[in-house]
Symmetry: C2
């Protein structure tokens, strides 16, 4: 049996997972940030990632539905509000649609999600299923990729603004609030995880939950890279770049 990790030791292991397999290590990220994507590739990224954005509040509502402690439900609730907003046109999903609008994608097509890649759909759905089916501890731990997101968002926004004439600060408004939200959210999740994962079995489960979530993000970029960077691999029923 492995030894128990201290809270600090557990956090260190979580960071090591991010360093090894967070999606900023994926080749598509380097293309996107460095300006080496075509406009069609940026469109494909935004179109497919919309599906992820649209499912995040369902994922967080599924976690909310499993929490017994009102205080923790209150602390988790802002995640749903951040994405859905207080009224039509507000919140993270609406902001993501400003990005797809600005990229010239048809809003009905985007919202229908019918033109996304099967690999995108299966990866995102795997995340929603994971938080419903695993322990609450694992469900909460799977959100910890937010440990790594503020830095990546910074790189992405700076890189995309510098590289693409079709990208403006308004286009990327989704990302403005995200680093602060992520830091607030990760404090809640990390406090829960370090308090509840105190034996080797649960600590291993927590680490594997974060690995799983890294795999979700990685598989989404694999699908995108395969279909839209390598030529000739768009499935016949998925979005085709305009010629």
């Amino acid at each position: 049996m492995k030894p128990v990790l201290s809270p600090g030791g557990l956090v260190e292991r979580l960071h090591a997972i991010g360093a090894a397999r967070y999606h900023d290590k994926h080749p598509f990220h380097a293309l996107l940030h460095s300006g080496r994507c075509t406009k069609a590739q940026v469109q494909a990224w935004a179109l497919n990632r919309y599906y992820y954005q649209s499912r995040i509040p369902q994922k967080d509502a599924a976690i909310l539905a499993r929490i017994e402690d009102p205080a923790l439900r209150r602390a988790w609730r802002p995640r749903v509000i951040d994405h859905d907003g207080e009224r039509e046109g507000e919140g993270g999903i609406a902001k993501w649609l400003r990005l797809t609008d600005a990229l010239g994608l048809d809003r009905d097509l985007v919202e229908s999600t019918r033109a996304i890649l099967p690999g995108t759909r299966f990866a995102v759905d795997a995340y929603v299923h994971f938080v419903r089916e695993r322990t609450l501890l694992e469900a909460i731990a799977s959100s910890l990729t937010e440990l790594f997101s503020p830095q990546v968002i910074h790189t992405r926004v700076q890189g995309m603004l510098a590289s693409y004439d079709f990208v403006t600060p308004e286009t990327l408004v989704y990302f403005t609030a995200r680093p602060e939200q992520a830091r607030r959210d990760v404090d809640v999740a990390l406090a829960y995880v370090t308090e509840h994962a105190t034996i080797p079995e649960t600590q291993v489960a927590v680490l594997q939950a974060l690995e799983f979530k890294c795999d979700v993000l990685w598989a989404m970029l694999d699908a995108l890279h395969h279909a839209y960077v390598e030529p000739g691999h768009v499935p016949p029923w998925a979005w085709e770049p305009p010629r």
Copy 2:
């Protein structure tokens, strides 16, 4: 509203879906059958597809658990038996392991499924979730890719035997019984679907269930093709071909 299809009309539409998006249209299939795969690529295919094989009886047990009619449960039950066998070393999963053994893959590694691609895992898990969460009609309809499998198995077995010196009839024993089993199974599923999908709403649901299943098989090959045909895309934690 769309008009109601006759049973024959519905079957015709099912075949049209197969003609458009069954995985024999995927570029990896052509590589595999024509002998243009390296041994490592055949190994990667067998290793990843093991995960699919191992989950099929769970998928069919999930359907079995939802059927209220004993006669239909009896008709569905052989699917589980085919894959699990009557005793250790028998059945489809054990036969698949004879393939991975013959290809020189470590059996513990294969059975652990820890070295498969995330895209494989998410696609296969999507199938298991689908049959649990959708209507029984959709769950049964999603099995109808077996309409198309006997012909593909014939092509695959002939092609692989002719092309690879590391493949023998014994290696491919899994496939020997499959065409006959598939024809028996598809008769059951098709009778159920044509009897129960008699209004446009349920007929559309049936057609979309088959599209979904085609997407599952397609996404598995996309993941495989991306990682093992295009150079440099194996995720760091997945199986690496020996050098």
